[in-house]
Point group: C2
Chain length 122, copies 2
Amino acid sequence: MRGLHLTADLYQCRCEPRWLADAQALGDWARQATEAVGLEVLHQVCHPGADQDGNTVALLLAHSHVCLHTWPRQRGVSVDVYLASGAGDLSAKARGLMFALVNRFAPEWTEQRSLDRGTEGA
Amino acid sequence: MRGLHLTADLYQCRCEPRWLADAQALGDWARQATEAVGLEVLHQVCHPGADQDGNTVALLLAHSHVCLHTWPRQRGVSVDVYLASGAGDLSAKARGLMFALVNRFAPEWTEQRSLDRGTEGA
């Protein structure tokens, strides 16, 4: 059950507006970014909100998930990368993936946290 | 973008084994628990792992998500409840839902954290 959970809240994103407004485009890109660091995506769900109301993308991995929520009006995004129980260096994969996801949105500033999870029961 | 993110890692769960092993039963129950605190579920995804390899359940809500991963062999579960931008007292809903989810598994012990998210950009 050992895992690493990275969170990021992104503000004043200067990316192309479609990355905040188009759930399918964001989901497809996030999936590619996840696979690019060597992770297998089991399910991809893209939920478009009402106009300018923001979107949700969730990628399910084995014992792991990646979630993004966008706020187009505020040009904000929240990102979660939670990886557990996989092969290889999960920390490098999690940090590499978070780096790619954050860069996509070109935020003016971010709040990021790192949680070690499942440490007691390992 | 203000939100509350609660995480819980559960160990030595003493619940009926099906709550760890049956993704659909867990997903249906988690959805009911989420709706019981007054939250609308937009998407429910249940991914059954290979035998005894654990399951993943994700519930997508507006700007919010609930994710559960189970480890049947270790009798462990990880739970995330992330609520943002909704109506009413999100903190009460998040804590009420997390309480219900944790109780379902009857863990011997837990590690729980609470993160205030999106505070800078609000």
